[in-house]
Amino acid sequence: MTTPYVVRELRTGEPLPAWINQTGVVLQPLPAAGDIGLLLVDADAQAADQSFACLRLRSKLGLDLPRYSYHLGRVVHAAAELNLFSTQPTLMLGNDHTGDSELADLACAPGLDFDAQVAALRTLIHAALDRVQPCQRVIVELAGPRDAASGQSPFWQGLGRFFYDGDPAQAQARHGDAWRSHLAALLPRQTLYLSFLNEAAQAAVGRVGEVGQPAAQALRECGFAFAQHVRIDDGGPLLERYATRAS
């Protein structure tokens, strides 16, 4: 990016651009009340609304709409007499991030190359972290992988579809953020052994899909890391870090 740029907050009533965010969803134009929208805009054209990237900071997530994720755990089955020691990965449905802060709607204008997207998002992530209370945990959801040919999520094909036979993309479009709260009601409540899922679904757990790659790179550079939670629909990872005002 050659032009100088600055971060500014979204003005009241100002819509977010209709870009695709890091979870593969088209941005909702108006952020929810209490959220802070951040835009990376051209320094010379602040008045002209020429923006490169955006991000939405949400504090205290999951307090009105329950937020679900799978915790990726481990159970060891051991039997010394049989010389057996087997580690089984498990998925457990929960609301572990209730009350945390979230960076949502990380998105860039079309046409930016990968490095430019990473640089733009990094700037916005730093700006967002400056607005979070110290010691507060901050999470970000990233899209899971999609099959190149079918566009289907292998994790969904291996798990979700047995519990909801509709199209997840349509359900997301129709219900917005509430979709995955509704989905959670249909999923098993008890520990699910990952080995019961097919191999493609197992392999997809915690992996980042194409659409989430620039954001994943920017987040890692800003100190975010995978903390053993994944999205319940496509198995994409949740990255997290604790806020400090050191930056």
């Binding site: 039997a79 047995f162 519990f163 699910l192 052994y193 019961f196």
Partner: protein
């Protein structure tokens, strides 16, 4: 063969060679008789001790019966009872449960089939070790072999639980090596093939294996189709003994074996057909073939008798014996 030539009696030490032949001829996991002479001898000795014991029942007793064709003097079948499933350990089964997952927002209400690892049948009295020589399958012999056990339990009720269960072998390939249910469930947690797993548990307590299995419910739709299909399915060799248990009124829909997914039936003793219709030998009984047991324990005998009492080949005096009709549903079988 004359049905009155059949005699069911407790196993004796001299039956070892005959049992060894039966154990060698039956498939892995199909018979609960171990194909090992030393283990067989132990089984026989335990049974003899159980029949002879005057002590209050501990639950550890196992009773093994043999069916003898008196016209040839050969042992043609076995059946058994284990007084208390799991005995001092737990007895594991999977229980079929249906969970409804619903979301009004998504307009979905879906019945999901799940399997729950449970100890429900621990302490139940188990029917075991059924084997009949194939040449006798179409006679009344299997009826005597299977149902006389129930009368024995009724007669000596203080030694048994009033709830009875019976395992049946599930689907395996012809060689008895591959079980689709085991491959999809047990094998993931217990890295062994099915026959090895059976051997490790010795056909007795499965608790050890079960401890290595997940304790959260298994969602059946997530299993491969072959495994889903195997749930509650019988191995073909078990069709005959299973049909007798079904006719007795056992429930076959609730429990399955944790290894091979075969159905484990259970029922309340008093509700079972042979027990409900059991009467003391007398003049007021309906005509037709009956199973008759004497009231002794150590000297237990069970025979078939056609009533009104004709003089049987063995010229038995059945007065004081407990009799129950051979079920009409299965009495069509040629004597």
């Amino acid at each position: 063969m004359n049905p009155t030539d059949l005699l069911l009696r407790p196993v004796a030490a001299a039956d070892l060679p005959a049992l060894a032949l039966i154990a060698a001829a039956t498939e892995h996991g199909i018979s609960s008789l171990p194909n090992d002479r030393a283990k067989l001898r132990t089984r026989i000795e335990r049974s003899m001790a159980s029949f002879a014991s005057e002590d209050a029942a501990s639950g550890e007793e196992t009773y093994l019966f043999v069916l003898e064709d008196l016209s040839t003097g050969e042992v043609i079948g076995t059946s058994g009872i284990a007084a208390s499933a799991g005995f001092h350990d737990r007895f594991y089964s999977y229980r079929n449960e249906f969970v409804v997952h619903a979301s009004s927002a998504l307009g979905v209400s879906q019945r999901m089939h799940t399997l729950h690892l449970c100890h429900d049948l621990t302490g139940y009295t188990l029917l075991t070790s059924f084997y009949i020589d194939p040449a006798y399958e179409d006679t009344l012999a299997p009826q005597l072999l299977s149902r006389a056990r129930l009368l024995f339990i009724k007669q000596h009720a203080e030694r048994f639980n009033d709830r009875i269960a019976a395992e049946s072998p599930g689907l395996t390939d012809d060689a008895g090596q591959q079980s689709p249910f085991w491959d999809a469930v047990g094998r993931r947690f217990f890295d062994m093939d099915y026959p090895s797993a059976e051997t490790v548990t010795g056909g007795r307590s499965k608790a050890y294996i079960a401890d290595l299995m997940p304790h959260s419910p298994i969602y059946v739709p997530l299993l491969p189709e072959a495994a889903q299909w195997a749930i509650g399915q019988l191995h073909p060799v078990a069709e005959l003994p299973f049909s007798i248990l079904q006719d007795e009124g056992f429930d076959a829909d609730t429990y399955i074996d944790i290894f091979d997914g075969g159905p484990t039936v259970e029922g309340s003793l008093q509700m079972l057909r042979s027990v409900r219709h059991a009467r003391l030998m007398g003049a007021d009984l309906d005509p037709g073939w009956h199973i008759a047991i004497n009231t002794r324990r150590d000297g237990f005998r069970a025979v078939l008798a056609e009533l009104p009492a004709v003089v049987s080949a063995a010229a038995r005096d059945l007065s004081g014996w407990l009799v129950t009709p051979v079920s009409p549903a299965t009495a069509g079988a040629q004597p």
